[in-house]
Amino acid sequence: MTETVTGTTTPLTRFAVPGRIAVNGPTETAWQTATLTEIRRETPHAATFRLAVPAWAGHLPGQHLMLRLTAADGYAAQRHYSIASAPDDSGHIELTLDRVPGGEVSGWFHTVARPGDTIEVRGPLSGFFAWPGDRPALLLGAGSGVVPLMSMVRHHRARGLAFPLRMLVSARSPEELIYASELGAETTPVFTRSAPPGVAVGRMTAAHVAPLLAEPPVGGWEAYVCGSNGFAEHASRLLVAAGQPVERIRIERFG
């Protein structure tokens, strides 16, 4: 923050935008047509939608976009979705959508959408939740909150990054765990309703978080928390209680 305030001190900003991340310019805020090229089922309630977006400006893991569906009479519905895929130059991006009961937009994706359909997107948006792959990352997600975190995991793998990255992800059951077959040693799943034999059932606790913070990597963790507001409140409190500095906790709440 520049010290341009006249006659007073600039408010202290413990919680600031990282200067390392560029914000959206004109390309990112323009609506673009995206063509659905593939649909992959992830769980009984979630599927991944692969989109061709030829003029995609590129994104950082963790960023989201705005998506718009338009009816014949001009009525439009727009929602935010996190980008699941890692940055690459394929001209494609992937989104993973939960099917929300009665959901206007997710309902269309889960019941009507098929390859060849076109929709509109604008983005990527918001730099705050982005992880450029420049520091150790501790990721806590629940439900579809794993989506932007998976972009970070994929980026970490694709680039063979040396920074440590660990993920705690909460799901109702093994069947509801999005990206289950892709998760590796970096991930600890937590099951809240039913778990495989020998695995505890229950919400994320201090016991999951404490070991990771007991021996933080050099430079400390940048923590990313994503999911419902209820999960975000719970998980961010666990992090603070375990000693993670508040100014190094970034939260994306799905509302």
Partner: protein, 201 residues
């Protein structure tokens, strides 16, 4: 217009109170703050106005409550797309605070900041004339911490990210200085009726 095959959407409701691109969240009140909800007691809360004013001043919980009470009853609009109708906030009009500090003639903009360090910039004109409040009640009850309690800024005619939660102070400036989301690509003013969501809108 790019019509989406097979998309009809919800039954149309004509609602002149709904800005373009918004939907009615009805009973929901989504929380979208990007930081940890602070553990801030009313007794530890303070609010300061400084910068281009005649007399910078800091209020605590009791001295702020000694100012004349003022309520807002109306609608709020979030940039993520939801609007909420007929909400009731209680607090004090920002005009009452500004009357104490007396803005200088050169003050044109404001940077609001929170006890968490969150910031939001606003033209001073959007904070005066009975259009902005420091609010500590919602629906007759204390404002919940995740919604900005003990007290938040309330500027309901702009997108709700301008209504900084856990408000700590406002600095008056002679220029526009981008706040937290504004540095992250959001629009500098955020008028929902002109759909000013992102920079460039």
């Amino acid at each position: 217009m790019n019509v989406t095959r097979g998309f009809s959407g919800r039954p149309r409701v004509h609602n002149p109170g709904l800005p373009p691109g918004q939907y009615d969240a009805r009973g929901d009140w989504p929380v979208l703050s990007a930081e940890v909800t602070p553990d801030l007691a009313a007794t530890d809360w303070s609010f300061r106005i400084d910068g281009l004013v005649e007399r910078p001043h800091t209020w605590d919980w009791d001295t702020a409550h000694a100012l004349p009470a003022s309520a807002y009853e109306g609608d709020i609009h979030c940039v993520t797309g939801w609007s909420k109708f007929g909400v009731r906030f209680g607090g004090v009009s920002l005009d009452a605070f500004l009357d104490v500090v007396r803005p200088q003639g050169s003050a044109t903009h404001a940077l609001a900041h929170s006890h968490t360090g969150y910031t939001a910039n606003l033209p001073l004109a959007d904070l005066t004339g009975g259009r902005a409040w420091i609010a500590w009640e919602y629906d007759g009850a204390p404002l919940a911490p995740e919604h900005g309690g003990p007290a938040r800024l309330l500027v309901p005619h702009l997108y709700f990210w301008k209504s900084a939660k856990w408000i700590a102070g406002i600095t008056l400036l002679d220029h526009d200085e981008p706040g937290f989301w504004e540095r992250n690509g959001y629009h500098t003013r955020g008028n929902p009726w002109e759909e000013q969501r992102y920079s460039g809108d």
